[in-house]
């Protein structure tokens, strides 16, 4: 495709998206009014299922099928990163993963914040149905927390903390658990992704039916997925071309 034609195709695409966006925005309820048709339906539905965090109820109960889609997209992205960033034939792993030793204060911060962030991550996953957060947010916090060890200059310890076969397996297991919970819904109630557990009492740790289980499954998948992706990026940084193998 020539440069000019490409610009035309891009122009048509951008203009089309622009028009559609403007039309959509014009049709939206005005900002800051009390008219919220979706809220009026979603909040009572969440309360009925004993889910204090309405967002979690929407994600894992009312519209769980959408979340399954997102989950699949993440899984696909991780697979794509792993496939694209695999070492080329003329590359080998550099022995020295050694970085310059960071400032003492930075190392200290990394050591203190790593365990703290991991605890916060677990908390965000486990309490996803009660307080803001959930599997996705908590999962990314967990993955981020682990990489604070890299900030502290401890790349090797970080590598030891995340054995790749285990992380890759738990990424798949988390995604599979989501789908399995969906099929369990068919088995128990007859509909896919139905909330099949007792709803418990509102605001308690054991409430919201299967929502906490979905959060844990997603947390596992997201944390592992992010770790796998970042590991592939790190691997690339430490790869060098073999001697005399120009290219």
């Amino acid at each position: 495709m020539s440069r000019g034609l490409r610009a035309v195709v891009l122009g048509v695409g951008v203009a089309g998206v622009g028009v559609v966006l403007v039309l959509a925005f014009l049709g939206m309820p005005h900002f800051g009014t009390s008219h919220h048709p979706y809220r009026d339906l979603a909040v009572p539905a969440a309360v009925q299922h004993g889910t204090a965090n309405v967002v979690s109820s929407v994600n894992f109960d009312q519209r769980a099928i959408d979340t399954l889609g997102e989950e699949t997209i993440l899984f696909g992205s991780v697979l794509a990163v792993a496939a694209l960033l695999r070492p080329a034939k003329n590359e080998e792993k550099k022995r020295e993963a050694g970085d310059r030793v960071p400032f003492q204060a930075t190392r200290m911060l990394g050591y203190v914040l790593m365990p703290t962030t991991l605890v916060v991550g677990i908390d965000v996953v486990v309490h996803g149905h009660v307080t803001p957060g959930g599997g996705f947010q908590g999962g990314v916090v967990l993955a981020t927390g682990l990489h604070l060890l890299y900030v502290a200059g401890q790349y090797r310890s970080m590598e030891k903390l995340r054995p790749m076969p285990l992380v890759e397996t738990s990424e798949a297991a988390g995604t599979a658990a989501f789908a399995a919970l969906g099929f369990a819904g068919i088995g128990v109630t007859g509909s896919f992704l139905a909330n099949l557990l007792p709803f418990g009492s509102f605001g308690q740790l054991l409430s919201a039916g299967a929502v906490p289980l979905f959060n844990v499954a997603v947390g596992l998948a997201v944390a592992s997925g992010c770790v796998v992706m970042l590991a592939k990026f790190f691997e690339q940084v430490f790869l060098v071309e073999k001697e005399g193998d120009g290219g």
């Binding site: 979690s56 803001p132 947010q137 990314v140 990489h147 992010c226 970042l230 990026f233």
Partner: protein
Amino acid sequence: MTVLIAIALTLVLAGGVAVVFSDDPQRQAVTLSVYGMLMTLLFFLLAAPDVALSQVVVGTVLVPLMVMLTIRKIRGHR
């Protein structure tokens, strides 16, 4: 509240402009991270803590880190 939202929106606008006009990709990763933080503030003020939480970890940490690592890889080849 409206004033706070207006301030946050202005900051997001300024942050976005700063990202676009950062010439060096390495600096851009840093401005992108700051921009992520400003977006977090905006989401928080708009009473969307769930989104704010996603934004703070993805926008200020994960994406800039991937950008930095990519830049390091590319520079290492030269």
